[in-house]
Amino acid sequence: MIELKDLKKSFDDKAVLKGVSIVMSDGKCNLIIGSSGSGKTVLMKCMVGLLKPTSGNVLYDGADFVNLNDKEQKAIREKIGMLFQGGALFDSQTVEQNVMFPLDMFTTDKYAKKRDRVKQVLDRVQLKEDAYKKFPSEISGGMQKRVALARAIVLNPKYLFCDEPNSGLDPQTSMVIDKLIHEITQEYDMTTIVNTHDMNSVMEIGDHIIYMHQGEKEWEGNNKEIILSENEKLNQFIFASEFLRDAKAMRTIQETGRIPESVQGGIKDAMEEKFNMDIDKDGHIGAPPKGNVPPKE
């Protein structure tokens, strides 16, 4: 289990993390979301030991990672796999060599066994064999992410960290990566922590969501709760676009049978005029539509 206790991090005088306490859900996809500059990348770097927190604790199964010695930290690092924003594949190595690298470094297995394992994980991320001998510069961004994911899970880690896994990818490829992360989390029974601001990811794989705002944990919940949350800052972040606001309105109508106040105007008028619905002044719908309701002539 990963637990953060009152984690603070400052750069010079600027406080980036202002006392964050979170308990990550075991065996689930934990998503850290927030706008740029909210501190989510710094939070992740503190968790994996790339940055030393100014104060606070990062506990892995009760052991405080920050205060462990090199040898003890190394033991925990062997349980961690990380998928970086840009993939961080080694330029001078082929896809196969990249994925085999952790096996070469940390196991004494024979080449044939290592090659089988590499094939197994590359198959799992749906990468075809003709890409094995290619260099990272010769494959697409989506493939690079899949190779990086394969490299991150090749040693069967207990914890998987993903920093902006969808950055630079088209929506379809992003969904493939999200799905892979979610499936792999369940298959390998890992605790996955994903840093993202992609709302599709939030809705698809957000078993446990932490919303960061100006270096603080502002909200915590899951992908079912987030859409109905009344937290103003969270709503400003996730419903920045009209499309998403409408989506929330539709979901709220579905869940509660009433139109939320924030979006009553347009939707209320449309429903009254186009769908001939009876809506009272508080937004309650008298007769919710069932199936396709023909528009008013």
Partner: protein
């Protein structure tokens, strides 16, 4: 940097890879530079030695000593500062910026030990060998140019080479080359490893690494000459 390696075989492989990059990779340029330096030394020495009382074999002596003492170690290493130094700085800089170093650290690998140390050790092994080769090729280039230009007969040149030869000069050159090798690899490795930012900063750090290592190399050249000669 000096922690026990996670896997000695992988570190050895990395060391050999760096020996190939630094040593074999610089072989061509070192050969070309050395031959021409020797050739030019012969022509210019002959041009200045106009007195009939100075024997022709003196040209060979002067070429030998200047090549061994200064041209082979110092000039070759200044060129290596550019060739090897910029490569090390940009390679490590790119690895830093593209989070490859972070990826290694998260795996629990001692990145300084795995990425920087093999480069320094490979430099310490291969650069003195390159300098020895540069000495031989420099003198050979001088002999070739002297003969081709009709300035000095090859047998007289060979006689001159053996006259008043001090083996200490070769030791001195090798001591210099070891110190220079450290400068050529360690300074760019530092600049590359600590780079922050993007592609522009990699370029800046690479340039800074070459400039700083060149200046330090010249300074070390002066200090070593003052101390050891």
């Amino acid at each position: 940097m000096f922690r026990k390696p996670e896997n000695a075989r992988m570190y050895w492989k990395q060391f050999m890879l760096q020996c190939n990059d630094i040593g074999i990779g610089s072989l061509g340029i070192i050969c070309i530079i050395s031959v021409f330096i020797g050739a030019v030394s012969t022509l210019q020495t002959a041009y200045q030695l106009v007195s009939p009382i100075i024997p022709k074999s003196t040209i060979a002596q002067i070429v030998r000593d200047t090549v061994i003492l200064e041209f082979a170690p110092t000039l070759s290493c200044i060129v290596l500062c550019g060739v090897v130094g910029s490569k090390i700085a940009s390679e490590l800089g790119n690895m830093r910026v593209s989070e490859q170093i972070d990826a290694l650290e998260i795996m629990g690998i001692n990145t300084k030990g795995y990425l920087v140390l093999p480069k320094i050790l490979a430099g310490l092994v291969t650069i003195p060998l390159l300098i020895m080769l540069a000495m031989i090729l420099g003198i050979w280039g001088g002999r070739l140019a002297g003969t081709a230009a009709g300035i000095i007969d090859p047998t007289i040149f060979d006689t001159g080479l053996k006259m008043a030869f001090k083996p200490y000069n070769v030791y001195f050159a090798l001591i210099k080359s070891v110190v220079f090798a450290f400068i050529i690899t360690a300074i760019p490795a530092f600049y590359g490893y600590t780079v922050k930012g993007g592609a522009l900063e990699i370029g800046h750090s690479s340039t800074r690494a070459v400039v700083v290592s060149c200046v330090l190399l010249l300074l070390a050249d002066y200090v070593l000459s003052a101390l050891l000669l």
